[in-house]
Every structure is written in C-alpha cells, then in structure tokens.
Symmetry: C2
Subunit: 348 residues, 2 copies
Amino acid sequence: MSKTIAIVFGAKSYEHEISIVSSISMKKVLKNDLKFIFIDKNREFYLIPSDKINSKLFSSSDYKKFDKLNIVQNGFTKKSLFGEKFIDFDIVLNITHGGDGEDGVLASLFEFFNIPFIGPRNEACVVSMDKYITKTYSSGCDVKTLPCQYVTPQSVNELKIDKYPVIVKPTKLGSSIGVSIVKSENEIEYALDTAFEFDDSAIVEPFIAGVKEYNLAGCKINGEFNFSIVEEPQKEEFLDFEKKYLDFARTEQVLKAEVSEDLTNKLKRNFINIYNNTFEGAIIRCDFFVIDDEVYLNEINSIPGSMANYLFDDFNDLVNRLSNSLPKKRHIEITYEYVNTIQKAKGK
Amino acid sequence: MSKTIAIVFGAKSYEHEISIVSSISMKKVLKNDLKFIFIDKNREFYLIPSDKINSKLFSSSDYKKFDKLNIVQNGFTKKSLFGEKFIDFDIVLNITHGGDGEDGVLASLFEFFNIPFIGPRNEACVVSMDKYITKTYSSGCDVKTLPCQYVTPQSVNELKIDKYPVIVKPTKLGSSIGVSIVKSENEIEYALDTAFEFDDSAIVEPFIAGVKEYNLAGCKINGEFNFSIVEEPQKEEFLDFEKKYLDFARTEQVLKAEVSEDLTNKLKRNFINIYNNTFEGAIIRCDFFVIDDEVYLNEINSIPGSMANYLFDDFNDLVNRLSNSLPKKRHIEITYEYVNTIQKAKGK
C-alpha cells in the first residue's frame, strides 16, 4: 500500500510563494494520500485539507481557520477534546524552497523530532544553499565550477574584475533573487548593493552569454542512481525571479534536450559526484554549464521547483521508491560511563 | 541588570556526557541567574533547577522527576494548572557538544522557534563539524590546513599513503572519538574500520609527532574581536577521548603559552579569517599547528569544552557582552504578490 505523504511547505523564505505553487502541483502528480502542512510566515504549522488547498487560501489568511499543529517527538499533533492527537502520515515531503527548507532549518527539525522525510539533510542544505561553499565542495568532489570572487560589504575594495560582463549573486539565495548581470564597471556598485540587500555576501563570476545550460535531476535509491531526462532550459539572458516563478507552476513534461550520449554520461558522472552520500534522501536538480565540451556545475537545487517532477517519466513511482530508501542515522548509545568515571576520579 | 541565561545541554550525541560536565562548570564561572534545560537521549527537554544539578542526576534518570518542557515559538513552556506557561529567561547558551549542538540541529531549532542564543549558527556548525568541509572552507578564507585524503568504505582501494605515520579521523566527530594514529600499512585497515564505526567517511592526514600546537579562543562583539590567551595544550601522543574528557572538567586557568608576539599575531589573524561572519554569535576555539613558522588550522571547536572559559581573563564579562551582540536575521516580507500574479495569469 502506498504511503501517506505530508507535504510541508511555505515558511519564512523569499520563496514562500513558490513553495505554495510547487506544493499544489503535487496534487496532480502524486497518487498517494496527501496531507498538506503549511508553515506560515510566523512559523506556525497548519493542517490544510487536501481538497481545500488553493493559492488564495494563503494570501487571504483563510488558512488560519484550519487546525494549528505542534511539532513534537515523532510527529505533529493537533488539539482535540481529549488532549493532543497525532496527525496520521508516514513520511514528510519537504517542498519548502529557499529559507527554512533549503538552508537546513527544517531538515534539522525533522531530524530532531524523528520525523522521516524526503528532502536534503542539513549538511546537504548548507553545501547547496551557499554558492561559495558549493564551489569548494564541488572541487572536493572533482566537479568543476566557474571561478569566482567572494565579496562582503567590507571587502568591496579588494574586488578585481579584469573582464566584463560578470554576474553578481547573493551567496545564499535561490531563484535569481538579487542576481544581476553587470556589463561594465559603472554598474557593479549597484549590482553589489542589490545583492547585499538580500545577503551579507555575494559572489562575482564571469558571465558567459549564450552558454549552453543543461539540467539533470535525480536521486539515489538503494544505492542506484535514478536520473531524469536532460533538460535544456529555455532562457533569455537569464531567468529573472518572476519568469522562473511562473515557470514553476508547470507540471507538463518538457522536451528532452538533444544531447549526445557522451555528454549525457558526463553530466550523469558529475551529478553522481555531487550527490555523493551527502544528498541521500533528496531528489535534487543539478544545473550545469557546458563550455568547450567541459561540464561545470552552476548550482544545486536541493528542493527544485515542483520537485522537477516534469523531468521524470514516472515521478510518482520515484517518490514512492525513494520513501523506502531514506538514510538512517547511526544509533548513539549513551551509557554515562564517563560521568561515572569522573565521579570516581573526584572521589564523589 | 544581567540576563538570565538558559544553558541547553545533553542531547543525542557521543559527547552527551561531556556536555553535562561543561554545563555544570558554568555554575562556577557565570554570575548570571542560570536555568538548566537538559535534552535527554530521547530528545525530550527537562528544566533542571540550578541548585539540584549534578552529574549523577542524569546517569540515574532522576532528571525525569523535574518539569518536562515543550519548545514553541519564542521559547519553552511547561504544563501548569492554567495551561502552558513560558519558562522565563533572556537567552540560551548552547553547550551541547557534538551531535545536535555542533552539527546545526539545535541552532536550527533556536532559529525556527525564534529563541536568541549564544552558539554557532547552522552554517557555522556544518563548516566546523565536518573536517573535510573545514578544509575547503579554510582554503577559501586563506587559512592553511594539512593536506588530507577523504575516504569512504567504497573508496578505500583508492587510498594512497606514501609515508607513515598518518592520522585517521571520522569526518564528523569531535573529542578524538574514532581517531587513530597509524604507524604502518598493516594498521590502516583497522584504523579505517574504527573510524567507519562512527561515521560514513574519514579523512587521512600526515601525523607529525611532536608538532607544536596552540589553541586560541575568542569571539566578535560589536565588530571587535575578543581573544583568549594562547594555550599550548598538554599532550602525550594525542589526547584520547577519556583524557580530553576528564580535562574538560577543569575550570582553573591554564598557563599561558610562551609564544612570541609575532606568532600570537599570526594566530589571531588566522582566527579572524576563520571566524569571518560565519561564526558570529559563538565563542569558538581554533586549534592550530605551527610547522616551520607557518600556521595551519587543525580544527574549529564551535562549542569548546567548558566553553574554553579557563582561557579568558573574565569569561563572565565576555558572555554578557556577547549576549548583547548577537547576529540578527534579515526580515523577510511575504506579500503574496506573485501568487496574485499567477492567479491573474491563470485567469482565476
């Protein structure tokens, strides 16, 4: 029998609204019994009935008429006449993009409260959320990324740009928020200010107009990799927040990119290296550049828009198989052996 | 008036017991009103009265007779006759070593539930907990570390050791747990097996007998760095878990290492680079090697044993000043502007 999945979404994030749209899209692609647990901007949990969910519910604050939940060891509870009652589900699917969901906060909550979930673990979040750490992590995994400079408001004077255009990105945000393409020196200050509005640091990379981009999604199930088709994203110069956002609402299949078997294999090898053990339990999308036949990682989406469901032949099957192959934490035995040793050592 | 500090300790960690000892040591060095919030091995919270705390309380399970707490938005509550009642404190001091405390789980909880705390933030935890990520992070901060090889049970065959002795460490644990010095090839398999008992990966570094080691603790308060004295740790070959552990119980001042002003400044510069903005809000201890006058970072203790209080002239003052200088998160405005745009775009 298929599992009951609780979709957790919303939260304190610049991508709060994208998360709502992504979550609603799951109704069309997952055949499981679904529950929807909304985290509002005050980080309170609400249980939204599956047949009542629509995006207006949230902008109107009407969600507040539904049950408020508490997170406790082993799950979520709601108040009932006879005390607290557990919400019945088997597994959480974390579809909270950006803050809280992709920065490790929710992963940590689920870990602490012993709630099984599909989604990136805390370390995976930090590695993918921080674009600078992504680069150092990738180099350790033998995956190329574009060179970059790391800039803070204090170190702006040390920035040296030999060649324009460059692209300026806040270090820790997704969905193109605060990102600018800078074509000449007189635009750089404004671009950095924009990035610093959203984050304490930024990275500056060469911008390569018309660079070939390919996206590949996948996950590891019982030690075997399961890949999506390779997508060549449609783009103008680059997708701004609004375009990407509207795009997230799609649930239809995209066209498979026309790529050689050789390149497909290269992309898969790079994906495998990045995924490593770090991303176990998550369906991620890696966005790559290809320059002179070399593959470069652009970014890791640890909770991609609409879970990248449109890239998979049978997303429903993928989710259900992954739900049986989640990473397990080691058991930690706490024996108080050392406290006892100390008590003896102190003669207590 | 000085703040009431809630010391949070224990939790699901190989260093659960060290955390108990560190926390009890705070009674001697902090003049603030203290509350003690114990996280037991099942990750339930208990409020331990300050005058009742001693290490036996935990090994005997007697802590269970005290109030059980819930974590909710803005704090912890306990059941009272008239519903849930908030526990009164101003700030948490996170003294949970290892798992939960230093891996970002508790930092994420405090962040999610809007509880101000002294301690490393989530990203700082991941950067310092994972010894491999520490190295890549350090290189980005212009701080040297020893070269290493990253090994998983699957990649053992690729390991190439040119020269013994080496030191084998689980990638993600502190306090020398699972660490071995390996003097020749026939000992390496056993050392790796030991490391893999505690973690899914290990790092292998050259072991330099008699290397000079110096520890420096500190924090940033209102943009200014506050440093401890430089400590030259007493060591035999290296401190094993038990020795380090017993050592953690100390509260007396240690002797200042005899180091030149030049070296002291070098250590401080390296500390500043590592601390960056990443470790704001935390008192950390960096452990350095000095080889041929060059400084190498060995490890970052984001919640050092006994908070390294014995290295500071006035630890009480430091904690109280830091409690007024904690990093603040940006406000995230959630407007539902984009959801409204989509509703329009869809003609809904």
